[in-house]
């Protein structure tokens, strides 16, 4: 897969790169503009261009792999322990399988940079069906928000590859919300989630 250049010897610097405020401000300005702020046509040529680099791609996709591994493990454990039935069971089975495929895709793209998966602990989120659904929504919304926020930092080739995953995560999010009786699409423009906030959401589930 040519989009991912897993250059050896690049140290993992996820937090320092991904939390750079200037990058996030760019995307927030864009959201604001599309959400209805008045923007003159003269700005059509004035916005800074999107760029990205192989090193940044690797950092972002490494975090994407954590998201996919966490989600895949979550659904696998819930299918074993939560006594899910009906459409919720179908949701866990279908979505869990797709998260595994995403993880495999990113592992293959990252090569040796993928590393081993951490161990996870989900507690009653995978034994209590009500908590399962609430946690599924949280994990899916968070994963989607991170992909959306980091998309502007990817090279076009990696963005093209990642976008094939992102819309599937959005479908998962909508499906989970529908099962919980919430609007599948509550807003016209999806918000982004920072890597820092995503780490806080994931922290309780990471055992090692």
């Amino acid at each position: 897969m040519p989009p991912f250049d897993s250059t050896e010897g690049d140290r993992p610097r996820v937090s320092s790169h991904l939390s750079r405020g200037t990058l996030l401000k760019g995307s927030i300005a864009g959201l604001g503009a599309l959400a209805g702020a008045a923007v003159g046509t003269t700005e059509l040529a004035a916005s800074p261009d999107a760029h990205g680099s192989a090193a940044t791609d690797k950092e972002i996709l490494t975090f994407g792999l954590l998201i996919e591994r966490l989600q895949a493990a979550f659904y696998a454990e819930a299918l074993r322990s939560a006594h899910l039935t009906g459409e919720v069971h179908q949701f866990a089975q279908v979505v869990g399988g797709q998260e595994q495929e995403h993880a495999k895709f990113l592992e293959s793209a990252l090569g040796s940079a993928a590393g081993n998966s951490p161990h996870f602990k989900f507690g009653d989120a995978v034994t209590d069906p009500a908590k399962f659904l609430a946690t599924a929504i949280s994990l899916e919304e968070t994963g989607l928000g991170v992909y959306n926020g980091q998309g502007v930092n990817l090279t076009p080739a990696s963005l093209a590859a990642a976008a094939k995953i992102v819309s599937v995560e959005a479908r998962h999010t909508a499906w989970a919300r529908a099962l919980a009786g919430k609007l599948p699409a509550p807003v016209a423009v999806d918000a982004t989630v920072s890597v820092t906030r995503a780490k806080q959401t994931f922290q309780p589930f990471i055992a090692s």
Binding site: G30, A163, K164, V189
Partner: protein, 234 residues
């Protein structure tokens, strides 16, 4: 120009106020035509995804952000008009009516946002004729599934071509909302909301061919000059 002379299909030229796209897409892929309503009911856009091609290097170099935003605006016009007509006709009830109301509101917000961004460069709203598909729950559902899967695939195809970081951020934030819409209506239509692990993109000429195959769009007032050669007359 009389209405009779002026009625024609959507062309890529219509999104291309600066003329940047026009020379890039010259090959029609006729085999994607007419699939829209026949196949999407059972398979979503899986059949179309199979023939999707990555945008070429040439198109990446030549496509301007303005043309991409206008392309997105055209898709949003199409969807907004569809949901607005469904609401006006009032054939939908319950969960389906809620979907049409909420999603219609989103699509109208997208239209407004793109029009504001583009200002005087925004294309005009085409004339639509939905041939009655908004008049029953069954045909509404089938068409909405096709529209939403199409929109998600179209944004996915355009995103890597966008040069401006802020426009890209906005396009990505709408891309995932279109995917949520697709999942929502697919569930209401009895299809798996997420049928595959990877969603495939569609490039601009594939999207235009599909839209033209529906005959939902007629342009009576071309936005580009009449000396432009009609390369894409569907």
């Amino acid at each position: 120009m009389t209405a009779g002379d002026g009625v024609r299909s959507l062309r890529l030229d219509d999104f291309d106020v600066d003329g940047a796209v026009r020379d890039t897409f010259e090959v029609m892929q006729c085999h994607t035509r007419s699939i829209f309503l026949r196949r999407t009911a059972g398979a979503g856009l899986a059949a179309l995804g199979a023939v999707a091609a990555w945008p070429s290097e040439a198109s990446a170099a030549a496509t301007s952000d303005t043309a991409i935003l206008n392309f997105a605006l055209a898709l949003e016009y199409l969807q907004a008009s569809f949901y607005t007509e469904a609401e006006r006709i009032g054939a939908l009830h319950g969960a389906l009516k809620q979907q049409a109301d909420v999603v219609g509101g989103h699509e109208r917000a997208h239209v407004k946002a793109f029009r504001q961004l583009l200002g005087s460069k925004a294309i005009k709203e085409p004339t639509f004729n939905f041939h009655g598909v908004t008049e029953s729950a069954d045909t509404f559902r089938t068409t909405a599934v096709a529209f939403e899967d199409l929109a998600a695939a179209a944004y996915k195809g355009q995103a890597p071509l966008i040069k401006s970081r802020s426009y890209l951020a906005g396009a990505l934030a709408i891309h995932s909302v279109e995917a949520r819409h697709a999942a929502w209506i697919r569930r209401l239509a009895g299809f798996l909301p997420a049928a595959k692990a990877f969603d495939e993109p569609l490039d601009a000429h594939e999207v235009v061919n599909i839209v033209n195959s529906t005959h939902f769009v007629t342009l009576q007032d071309p936005t580009t000059s009449s000396q432009t050669s009609p390369n894409f007359t569907g």
